[in-house]
């Protein structure tokens, strides 16, 4: 296609500016995290790396006092991993099963049950946060992984993705399977699940990132810092920055921020094609 030289030049200039706009805040946080606290306090935010990378990140990862609590960043990363994986696995399994029942079966309660599932879209967790907290508290699930993960799974987004996908699967497959004598469970496990592998992977990646990045619910749920996820941990560290009359520990707070960002960004970049395909196709 014809493009003028000027157009090509501005294209690159604009895209480079756009990329810088996205990257600069994270870059500044990263390089500022590799200096000593005195240096950052006196000289402000930095644009080039310092020499204290291993010192600061080592302290954050292994020394509980660096994160102002009883947990290290390593433990917080573990909690985030449990939340991300638990949320993604739970969501994929539960919504695959529910969508299968809704699409492939004729049963009495199909329509009302579909509407129950659909209704969860009307009221995100953020809106029913106070009563949700009370329910989880009355079940004795505060400060547990179960209480952290299950309420987040109670929404229908995954079910709709799979419903959409199953409807695009050719009917002939079911007819053939039935001729060969396969029952509903057999059809699900041997035919539908293998067919959905790419779809499962894509939704899994999206859900992992969504789970990892959860904020409000873990913030209310986890009063015990042993269960802090890294996203919650950052907030606590920033809150205590100005305590005790010492020079604020900015570099370590930035280091924690960077560590919370790396895992989900890596997942999205490494599985980019699958992730983009999943995002664009499921939300249609």
């Amino acid at each position: 296609m014809y493009q003028s030289k000027w157009r090509i030049f501005t294209n690159h200039a604009i895209l480079i500016l756009g990329a810088l706009f996205m990257i600069m805040p994270v870059w500044i946080a990263f390089v500022s995290s590799t200096h000593t606290r005195e240096f950052v306090f006196q000289n402000g935010l930095q644009f080039w790396p310092g020499e204290h990378f291993f010192e600061n990140y080592g302290a954050i990862l292994f020394d509980p006092s660096a994160t102002k609590g009883r947990v290290t960043a390593l433990e917080m990363l573990f909690n985030s991993m449990v939340l991300g994986l638990g949320f993604a696995i739970g969501k994929v399994i539960i919504s695959m099963m529910a969508a299968y029942a809704i699409v492939y079966f004729r049963f009495k309660l199909a329509v009302p049950l579909f509407w129950v599932v659909f209704s969860t879209l009307l009221l995100p967790l953020e809106v029913r946060i106070v009563p949700s907290y009370e329910v989880v508290a009355s079940l004795g699930l505060l400060n547990t992984y179960t209480g952290l993960i299950l309420p987040l799974i109670a929404s229908a987004t995954g079910t709709f993705f799979f419903r959409q996908f199953y409807r695009s699967v050719p009917d002939e497959l079911l007819e053939a399977a039935r001729l060969d004598g396969a029952g509903p469970i057999r059809f699900f496990i041997d035919i539908l699940v293998p067919l959905s592998v790419t779809m499962i992977a894509a939704i899994f990646i999206i859900m992992f990132v969504v789970g990892w990045n959860q904020y409000l619910w873990p913030l209310l749920m986890t009063t015990d810092d042993q269960l802090y996820t890294i996203v919650i941990g950052i907030k606590q560290v920033y809150n205590s920055l100005y305590e005790g009359g010492q020079i604020p520990q900015f570099p370590k707070a930035f280091a924690l921020t960077i560590m919370a960002t790396i895992p989900p960004v890596l997942v999205v970049v490494v599985f980019q094609r699958m992730f983009v395909k999943g995002l664009v196709e499921t939300e249609k």
Partner: protein, 292 residues
């Protein structure tokens, strides 16, 4: 629905059971509680409560802080959606045109999807820190008397900037794949007929992207309503004086920090109604798109 279906009594119930169980316990029950509590008035110690019909709703709707928050939410949501859609559409059109480095640009512009809203908020907080924030100092050195801690407009500017920054990559992904879905033959015919890239964009490309844009508008409004909670809670916390508190943030502040259960529940129910309207709107649109 499928033409061919299984007819089996117990199996479908077994398959929906886990989802229905979780929804009942963690969605229907709390939602019902929210509606119930919105009709109750608790005394100061939370010991007893009485049924007061719509008084909580009247209190909420007539309070100036709620009205102010509602206005802020609308302005904030519209600005965030329009700005982030405009920026990412602009970037996506350019990224669709480049040949060299196309893949790298795509990666560099889409990774932001993975950033958690509170992390975005903290990065913004860092850049606007009065002690050392580069943007704070830059604005002030250019002669603006920028002070987001005391000035409501400046605070709103900070929150909007962070929220837009966080949302650009999602919109970019959708626009780029929308652009790549436009057939090459259409693009080439347009190039032959019209030399100016700007006119080509407004007469050919943009109308073809209209469904994507509309879909993204709904997605972005939902994002600005709910997901910006994390951004607000770590950057301005709604200050100064509640000027940057969205409705969702206010539900949290009144319910958890202020322990006003009835008022907070009434706000939840009002939000629920607003979201229902938005969702119905979205679904009607999607259904229509499917029929075309």
């Amino acid at each position: 629905m499928k033409r061919v279906q299984f007819e089996h009594s117990a199996v479908p119930y077994l398959f929906v059971a886990p989802q229905i169980l979780i929804i009942s316990i963690f969605f229907l029950w709390p939602a019902a509680q929210a509606v119930y509590q919105s009709f109750l008035l608790e005394d100061a110690f939370g010991m007893s409560s009485q049924f007061v019909w719509f008084r909580n709703f009247e209190d909420v709707l007539s309070s100036s802080s709620w009205t102010r928050s509602a206005i802020f939410t609308v302005v904030f949501s519209v600005l965030v959606s329009v700005l982030s859609i405009a920026i990412s559409l602009f970037l996506a059109v350019r990224a669709d045109e480049v040949v060299r480095g196309a893949k790298s640009y795509k990666t560099l512009l889409m990774w932001g999807y993975a950033i958690a809203p509170p992390v975005a908020g903290l990065l913004g907080n860092m850049l606007f820190n009065p002690l050392m924030g580069d943007l704070y100092m830059a604005f002030n050195s250019f002669g603006f008397e920028f002070n987001h801690i005391e000035n409501a407009n400046d605070a709103a500017f900070v929150v909007i900037l962070i929220a837009v920054w966080k949302q650009v990559s999602v919109n970019f992904i959708f626009f780029l794949s929308g652009l790549q879905g436009i057939p090459k033959s259409v693009q080439e015919a347009a190039t032959l007929d019209c030399k100016s890239p700007e006119r080509r964009f407004w007469t050919i490309t943009f109308p073809l992207l209209a469904p994507t844009t509309f879909f993204l508008l709904v997605i972005n409004l939902t994002y600005a309503f709910f997901e910006t909670f994390g951004i607000i809670d770590v950057s301005t916390k709604g200050s100064p004086g509640g000027a940057t508190a969205t409705l969702v943030y206010k539900v949290y502040v009144d319910g958890f920090l202020g322990a006003d259960l009835g008022g907070s529940s009434a706000q939840s129910v009002l939000l629920m109604i607003m979201v229902s309207v938005l969702t119905v709107f979205q679904f009607r649109f999607i259904e229509r798109k499917v029929h075309y």
